[in-house]
Amino acid sequence: MLEIENAVKVFERGTPNEHTALAGVNLKVEEGEFITVLGSNGAGKSTLFNAICGNFLLDKGHIRLGGKDLTFMPEHKRARMIGRLFQDPMRGTAPNLSIEENLALSYSKSTKGMFRMAVNKKDRLMFREKLAGFEMGLEDRMDTKVGLLSGGQRQVVSLLMSTIVTPKLLLLDEHTAALDPATAQKVMQITNDIVYSRHITTLMITHNMASALVTGTRTIMMDAGNIIFDFGQEERQHMTVQDLLSMYSDKKKEEFDNDRILLGQ
């Protein structure tokens, strides 16, 4: 489904601030897989998502989605196939438009002509029904400006927006990190429901190792612009957070030792 081949991105090349964000990432994602992505800050997780979405072009390498080459496709064209959620609930919605208008924005673009009315009766009913399924009372506040909703409610609206037309790929960038634990759990449950019921191929960045190992079907860990671990369902099953941490520090120590040898000589 998604194929990333030797993706390289260096920011500020040739300056003292040169920084390798992606150091030749290779990743193959099968249709319907739900991958959790771990890694410390600066490991390149969000950069990988940005590369897939087309916020910048890769220095080297290729990205393919469902057989199409995305490498040089402009951002808004890729967005037709990719749904994306950010950590900041403010980023996914237009605050001065109502819930209904926000939903219509992501729905009508793909289904109607430019000069048709953005919302009709049928759409309104469909939106209501979908919102009612989340049991958050949002279906009775369709005319409310999204800017007046809480972070969790906004994130649910964004989630519905990015999946209202089933995307080929769903990218979740720590989308529950800014929420309180109870709301985060609720949003996560809604996410699971949507992803599983429609078999959406999904990548989810998280810092919660315990939930990363039980959510989805596969876990990868990134470090310094590379994927350092890749665990399938079976490997993950018996793994604890402790195992993961010790594997990570072993790996880091290895690198550190190498550095010391180099510097010592």
């Binding site: 808004h76 009508s108 000069f115 009315m117 927006m161």
Partner: protein, 304 residues
């Protein structure tokens, strides 16, 4: 009485421009200086075509001229990444020469001997008075633009434009071409402004190269005044508030001009002061709230 009716006619006609400025200023969040150029562009084009004997065509061309000016500013902003305000200034400045070119190098053109929309309607309905004809045309123009814009901003394209002005980050992450939306919005905004210029020149039967000076401030003042009168943010009422603002602005100006304190040349200063006061309201509220809190806290500690 003439003052009352004259302001009503002008308020409605300039309402067309204010609706355009509402789009750039409120929907897209850009104070678009193209206005001053596109208004005169529409005015000049309309005057020349009218003088050549085609008043209806003149109005159509003047809105297309405005749209072209807006699209050009949009291109500067998006494709060449020039700061929105500077992009508007560049277009406005360039248009000054183009407008003189359109007017064949003359700084003003008179239409006193030409057919205009107004004289056409007067000869078609001889029973109507001159003022009634002017009012009818003003009402039709403002009403049609109001309805057209209301419909447009409810379509998918219109909704995408509103979202672009609201949260461009989010829109670029969805499947909408942000640049195309900005260009379209500016083209539509300036089409209204050009159309207004085209109507005004026929209304007053002359065109002057400097007619556009200060138009943006007039428009901003009207937008802000209108919002004070109509608070609903439904699309129809947003644009209606632009017309109401334009009307109220004309009456304020008429009153100010009539009073012995303000000679005619004070017009622009009054507009600038109105806009400054309106834009300063949020900051003033904040300051007074901070002062009140401080005072309350000090009082509390004294008691303790």
């Amino acid at each position: 009485m003439t003052l009352l009716i004259g302001s009503l006619q002008l308020g409605l006609l300039y309402g067309v421009m204010v609706m355009g400025i509402y789009i750039s200023f409120r929907v897209m969040n850009i104070p678009d200086l193209t206005t001053e150029g596109s208004f005169t562009f529409g005015l000049a084009a309309s005057a020349m075509i009218c003088a050549a004997g085609h008043p209806v065509l003149a109005v159509i061309i003047s809105s297309l001229a405005g749209a072209a000016a807006g699209a050009f500013t949009g291109l500067l902003q998006t494709k060449l990444d020039i700061h929105p305000v500077l992009a508007g200034i560049l277009t406005m400045s360039g248009l000054y020469s183009i407008n003189l070119f359109v007017m064949k190098g003359a700084s003003n053109v008179t239409l006193l001997n030409s057919r205009t929309l107004f004289t056409m309607l007067m000869s078609a309905f001889p029973s109507l008075s001159k003022d009634a004809v002017k009012l009818i045309i003003a009402i039709i123009a403002a009403g049609l633009v109001l309805l057209a814009l209301t419909f447009f901003f409810k379509t998918s394209l219109g909704l995408a434009i509103r979202a672009t002005g609201d949260n461009a980050d989010m829109v670029s992450a969805s499947s909408i071409n942000v640049n195309a939306m900005k260009i379209t919005a500016l083209a539509i905004a300036n089409a209204c402004i050009g159309l207004c210029g085209g109507l005004i020149t026929q209304y007053q039967s002359f065109a002057d190269i400097n007619s556009g000076v200060g138009m943006l401030v007039v428009g901003l003042a009207s937008v802000i005044i209108g919002e004070a009168f109509i608070r609903s943010r439904r699309i129809f009422f947003c644009f209606l508030s632009a017309i109401v603002g334009s009307l109220v602005y004309r009456y304020i100006i008429a009153l100010a001009m009539k009073s012995p304190f303000f000679p005619a040349y004070m017009l622009k200063l009054i507009s600038a002061v109105i806009v400054t006061i309106a834009l300063a309201v949020p900051a003033a509220k904040k300051m007074s709230a901070a002062r009140r809190l401080k005072a309350a806290n000090r009082g509390g500690s004294d008691n303790a």
